[in-house]
């Protein structure tokens, strides 16, 4: 019955900077991966591409998405152009932020973001084989 009451904090997720201990042998590679083209239904097609930086220090391999772009996005009507201009930059920030704070999933998604997530997932699947 007891309820904890708190006030919403602006950014609940605090990004913890990963301590990069300077190592002797370090190799850095970058590669671009393109996701599947997803039909968002009423808004048209959408495709996400990611650039991944792979850092190899000894036997330790870490991979990080350094950028997300949307080479194909819904723009065939005023409505979808509006959504593309406003939602997609937000989704990109969100995905990069989720990675920083290790969020495995997000609950409470939206229609356009579903297509974004699907294409992003496909890009990540490709990236994981690298």
């Amino acid at each position: 019955m007891k309820k904890a009451i708190t006030t919403l904090f602006g950014a609940a997720v605090i990004a913890l900077p990963t301590g990069n201990a300077a190592a002797a042998q370090k190799k850095v590679l970058t590669k671009k991966f393109t996701g599947s083209t997803v039909d968002t239904g009423r808004y048209g097609l959408l495709r996400v591409a990611i650039v991944v930086r792979k850092t190899i220090v000894g036997k330790k391999v870490t991979r990080r998405i350094t950028s997300i772009t949307v080479p194909v996005y819904p723009n065939d009507t005023d409505r979808s152009a509006f959504i593309s201009q406003n939602a997609i930059p937000v989704l990109i920030r969100e995905a990069l932020q989720a990675q920083r704070a290790r969020i495995d999933l997000v609950s409470g998604a939206t229609y356009t973001s579903d297509a974004f997530a699907t294409s992003l997932q496909a890009a990540i699947v490709a990236e994981k084989k690298w």
Partner: protein, 257 residues
């Protein structure tokens, strides 16, 4: 929705569009039996074919047109409708398969989560231990996000799309969020037919996704503080309610990180 945490980790990930939403399965076990994933997606496609209100030949569509008698429908359809009726009672009528129209039934608010619960059973019976099944932002977690010790789920901030309102941590858990997001479907109060007031979102966590999803939908439809007070009396389920003024109310056991 977005799962962008990359790094070295085991397992496989698959995405398929079923029931009009992307179903993402993220398995963190080694040596995954791919046939189990095939069975899981086949099950979800069967559920869609049987329960979809968008497919003319589904059992639900045929029931709604009066072409199929309830006693002639599949036993699983009857079981689902009985469970929906129980949920209507538990939620004082706020979860109602007749909310859209008194003449037709639409159990999809329960079916999506319930089908993910059974999908989880299929994977567990095949020996999978560490995985998540995400159905368009509502998910069932199992085990842990190997190599981490638990799963971390961000709860979408209802007003600021680039923010997370809270983070939930768990191992074996269902997480469902209902809110006034810009989605095609909108939750209405079935008693008034209007959008609920004073509320932005409700997240419910607990053992089963079908029930958690129905509770989240019902609580959101109640609106305002009534939603938070109702969730505080649930057994086995916890909730976080975000009010219109951005006050966050959580039940005592809500697993916020």
């Amino acid at each position: 929705m977005v799962s962008a945490a990359v790094g070295v980790r085991p397992g496989i990930r698959r995405v398929e569009h079923v029931m009009g939403i992307p179903i993402v399965v993220d398995v963190r076990d080694e040596d995954v039996d791919a046939a189990a994933l095939e069975r899981m997606f086949a099950w979800l496609r069967w559920v869609d074919a049987t329960f979809s209100t968008y497919k003319d030949d589904s059992e639900i569509s045929r029931l709604n047109r009066g072409e199929l008698a309830l006693e002639d429908s599949a036993s699983v359809v009857r079981w689902v409708l009985e469970r929906c009726e129980e949920l209507r009672g538990e939620t004082r009528g706020y979860f109602d398969v007749r909310a859209g129209s008194p003449l037709t039934i639409d159990p999809s608010g329960f079916v999506k989560g319930w089908s993910v619960d059974r999908a989880t059973d299929i994977l567990q019976e095949a020996g999978l231990r560490n995985f998540a099944v995400n159905a368009g932002g509502d998910m069932r977690l199992s085990g842990r996000a190997v190599p981490e010790t638990c799963w971390r789920v961000g709860i979408q901030h209802p007003l600021q799309r680039d923010k997370i309102a809270a983070v939930v941590e768990g191992n074996d858990l269902a997480v469902a969020t209902s809110g006034a997001y810009e989605r095609g479907e909108h939750v209405l109060d079935p008693h008034t037919g209007r959008a609920p007031r004073g509320i932005l979102s409700v997240t419910v966590v607990g053992p089963e996704l079908g029930t958690a999803d129905a509770y989240a939908t019902a609580a959101f439809a109640m609106g305002g503080e009534a939603a938070a007070h109702w969730t505080a009396r649930l057994h086995g389920y916890d909730a976080m309610t975000i009010l219109a003024d951005e006050t966050v109310l959580t039940t005592a056991g809500f697993p916020a990180a």
